[in-house]
Every structure is written in C-alpha cells, then in structure tokens.
Amino acid sequence: MLREGRQVDVVGLTKMFGALKAVDDLTFSVRPGVVTGFLGPNGSGKTTTLRCLLGLLRPTAGTATIGGVPYSRLDDPIGTVGAALEASSFHPGRSARAHLEVMALGAGIDTARAPQMLAQVGLSEVADKRVGGFSLGMRQRLALASALLGDPEVLVLDEPANGLDPAGIAWLRQFLRALAAEGRTVLVSSHVLSEVQQTVDEVVVLSRGRLVRQGTLADLDSGPREVLVRTPEPEKLRDVLALRDLTVVGADDSGRLRVTGGSTQDVGHAAFEGGVELHELVAEPSRLERAFLELTEGDET
C-alpha cells in the first residue's frame, strides 16, 4: 500500500545558542518515497536542525514543518513523525517493552504494538530486560522501534547506524529502503558518508550550519574518475602515459599511482604499447567520499 506521504520543509532556519550560530539560514525539503541522507561532520548543525523540526528547540528564525504544519501543532505527533534522536535516551531501569508501552499509552496507541515493534527490530528476546544492560546497537534498535511505534508517514533518524555492526548496518539499509518504498518520507543523518551511501537516494549536505548541497547522490558523484594502477616500473609508466596526455597525479596509500585524463582502457593500452608491466589496473570506485570531504572541508576541529 502506498502512502500519501508528507514533505518536510525547512525554510530559512536559524538557531543561535548564545553567540554561537549552530544553524544558519538553512533551507531544504525532503520528499516522500525516497531515503534522504542528511550529511555533515559532527558539529555541523544536523542534530540542532532535527530538534528544531521536532519542536524540542525553539528556532531563532525560520520554520521547520511537516506537511506544512509545525510539529507542536500536529494532531497525532508520533503517528505522523517517528523520530530516533542520537541523544534520545532511555531510563536504564525500565524494560524495553515498558519504554514503548509508556509512549503508546501517552499517544493513545494500543500497547499490543510494543512487542510487535520489538519483534520488528529483533529485540523480542530482551523485551523484558532493563535497558541499562543494552549495548549501543540494541539501544539504536530500540530507538528505531520507538520511531516506528505510531506507524508514522515521516521518519527522522539521527545517526541510526552509530554503534551498529556491519550486519546491523546492512539490516538497517534494507529496512529504510522498504519503509521509503511504502511511500514514507525518510530522513537519515550521518557524519560518515559510506554508512549511508548505499541507502540514500538524495542528500542534503550541511557544513557549519549552512546548506552546501542538495540533490541526488549521482549529482554528488559527478566529475571524472581517476584510474588506479600498480606497476614495478613507475618512472617508465609515467613517461609512457605522458605521451598520451595521461597524467600521474600521485599515489594512494597502498602505492598505486593515481592517473587522470583517461579511462582504464586508455591507461592499459598505453602501458601495453610502451611495454610496461602492470600488476593492477582499476577505476577509482567513487569520488563520493572525496566530494563529501571537499564540501565540508575545514569543519572538523
């Protein structure tokens, strides 16, 4: 069943903490039916933006709305927006089931949904265990279960992959894609592009509280790719390549030469003609991570 979905709109959002401008005139929107990555280094304003969207922080200026309505005016808040925030913690003495039951009772949702949600995120076996003994990965799953409790049309997840093992990340990826395929709006923040690279369709990239890019993942991935080549005769190869306008621009960590100006075919052919022995010849897998770092450069302190 396809849902009607609701668009998330952030318009001119600014949030000051004292003299610090955490979010600076930020404008972007998030469409239903796709997974949108909300990317930026730690401290770039992602969590602050999400907390403004959820009515937990009061914006200094601008608006953040869900289907045109601010969170605090939604008729059925957790039935409309499901949120799992990085810092959203649990009472260590309360069981996973009780945590969900408290939320369900407050929202007028049948408490029978609590064990169902725990089953969905793979926490059935520890449903009645106190959360104090949970690993970070288990807490992430419980946070996700809380977000799904109201069967919301919009999901807002802050760093959901933090603390998940590779199997957990693969599981999360499937899960989020399935939710978006049902027509839901899914916004996932991360400071590590590779974590969400295979999950997201669109990206919103933030740097120092400002928007630096919104578009599809493919947009970010545009530009020429480099060819990586391993040879026992680097000097000879450099000369041979130069004859065909191929340039060695450096070497990667494992000693492979980085070549620009042509494809793997061009480089392979040049080496063959010049009689240079090659041990490895591949196209650079993706410029994405580098593009991301360039966009957000200078953010990390």
């Binding site: 907390r51 937990l56 922080l57 808040p77 959203s88 003495g93 039951e101 408290v102 407050g106």
Partner: protein, 262 residues
C-alpha cells in the same frame, strides 16, 4: 489527558524506585508509630509535663495518622522530585515531549499521577501503622482506640497531606532539574532550615510568620487543636501546602514550555 495520566502512572510503576521509596516509607511509619505508642503517657522528667497517655485521643492520633505522615512525607517528596528530574537525568524528556508537544499537559498529568501514587503510599502506610501501633497499644494493655475523637478525619487529612507533598516534589523538580541538587536542597530545607527557622521565629514570638512554613502548614492540616504553635486553621493549612506545590509546579510549567530540550 487521560492517556497522558496513564502513561505517567506506567512510568512510575515500570521502574523499581517507587518500591524502594514505599518500603522506606512503610518502615519509617511503623517505627514512628511504635515509638509514639511506647512513649505515650511517659514522664520525661526534668520538670516537663507528662506526655498524653494512650487513653487520650491526642496520643491515639499520634500513633496512627501522625506517625504515618511523619514516616511517609519525605519519601513522597523524593518520589515527586525524581518523577520530574529523572526525565532530564536520563533524557527521557525527549520522547515524553515528542509524544506530547503540549508540555504543560505533561506536567499536569505528572502532578495527578504522583498525587495518586502519594495516596497509595499513605493508605498503605495507614494499614501498617494500624497493625504496628495497634499491636504496641494492645501489648501495653490499652484498646486499639479506633473510636478516638477526630481520628478518622485526621487520617483522611494525613493522606491528603502526603499527596500534596508529592506535588511539592514535582514543583521542586521542575525548578531544579538536577536530581541530586533537588533532593539535597529539598531535604536540607525540610529537615534543617525549616525546623531551625521555626524554632528561631517562635522564640522571637513571630508565630504569625512561622505558621506559613510548609511543614507547619502540614501540621496544621492534620492536628487541629494541638497548641504547641499558633497553627493555621486545618483547611487553611491544606490550602497553603497545596499552594506551595502548585506555585512551584506552575513556575516549572512556564519555564519548561519555553525551555529548549537538547
């Protein structure tokens, strides 16, 4: 509102703290009750007057409702404080406000839920003092004294007073969000500053001021007619006590509605 109230009650019962506080309250009530029954009618010597014996209504009231109140109210206060500060300490306030962005409703639901729990504490406490104090009185050869003058009215008022002290705790917790600080400050005020102030002001013949302090307002609520101090009327004592709780909680509501949650 009903759903928020149910959520708040589930919050209280889903951790073990309320059990611990209840057991503490029951133990203290029992000890206080037995002690009051033992010393009743004794002559402390040193020229002081003899304490009222167990044949008087005053002594019977001290064995039952007064003992329950003095054994329970501090635990009720701590229950109220932690009910609010725990949300900030463990950051569960985030999911609480996500479920209900109407923050003032959350605080009202909390006040009601904790007042209900305070009533449960007090009623169970009364059962305990009836057994512990009653047994002690029987051992000393007196009757149970259940027909003593104003006994049942005082019991009802003592239950009300305990409930109000939990509300007072919520009020303190909304103002002072640090759990440890809130508890330490509340207990210091109740156990040290208030009694000292009462003593000092009473010594300076300023009873007109002393009677407005929270503990003395509680005493007024439960012990009409006892003349150690110039207490307020019993109903006025209740109103004053409730006003303390509601004013504190009201301030807390106003602050929490505007406050950023991060």
């Amino acid at each position: 509102m009903t759903s928020l109230l149910r959520a708040e009650l589930r919050k209280i019962t889903s951790t073990r703290l309320w059990w611990g506080l209840l057991l503490g309250a029951l133990a203290f009530s029992a000890i206080q009750s037995v002690a009051n029954a033992v010393v009743a009618g004794m002559d402390p010597g040193g020229g002081q007057g003899t304490m009222p014996g167990l044949e008087t209504a005053e002594a019977v009231r001290s064995v039952y409702p007064m003992a329950m109140f003095s054994g329970t109210y501090i635990f009720a206060l701590v229950l109220g404080i932690t009910g609010m500060t725990g949300e900030y300490r463990y950051q569960t306030i985030t999911s609480t406000f996500l479920v209900s962005p109407h923050r003032s409703r959350v605080v009202v639901a909390k006040i009601l839920a904790h007042a209900v729990t305070g009533v449960v504490y007090a009623v169970l406490g009364l059962l305990v003092v009836l057994v512990a104090g009653g047994t002690t009185m029987a051992i000393r050869g007196y009757g149970l004294g259940l027909d003593a003058d104003r006994l049942w009215v005082t019991m009802g008022l003592a239950v009300l007073a305990v409930a109000i002290w939990t509300v007072l705790g919520i009020g303190i917790g909304t103002l002072i969000r640090s759990q440890i600080a809130a508890i330490v400050i509340a207990i210091l005020i109740t156990f040290l500053i208030e009694p000292l102030l009462t003593f000092a002001l009473a010594a300076a013949d300023m009873d007109w001021l002393v009677k407005w302090l929270p503990s003395n307002a509680s005493s007024a609520l439960m012990a009409p007619g006892d003349v150690m101090l110039d207490y307020l009327e019993w109903w006025a004592g209740g109103v004053v006590l409730l006003a303390y709780g509601l004013v504190l909680a009201g301030l807390g509501v106003v602050l929490s509605v505007r406050r950023d949650v991060s």
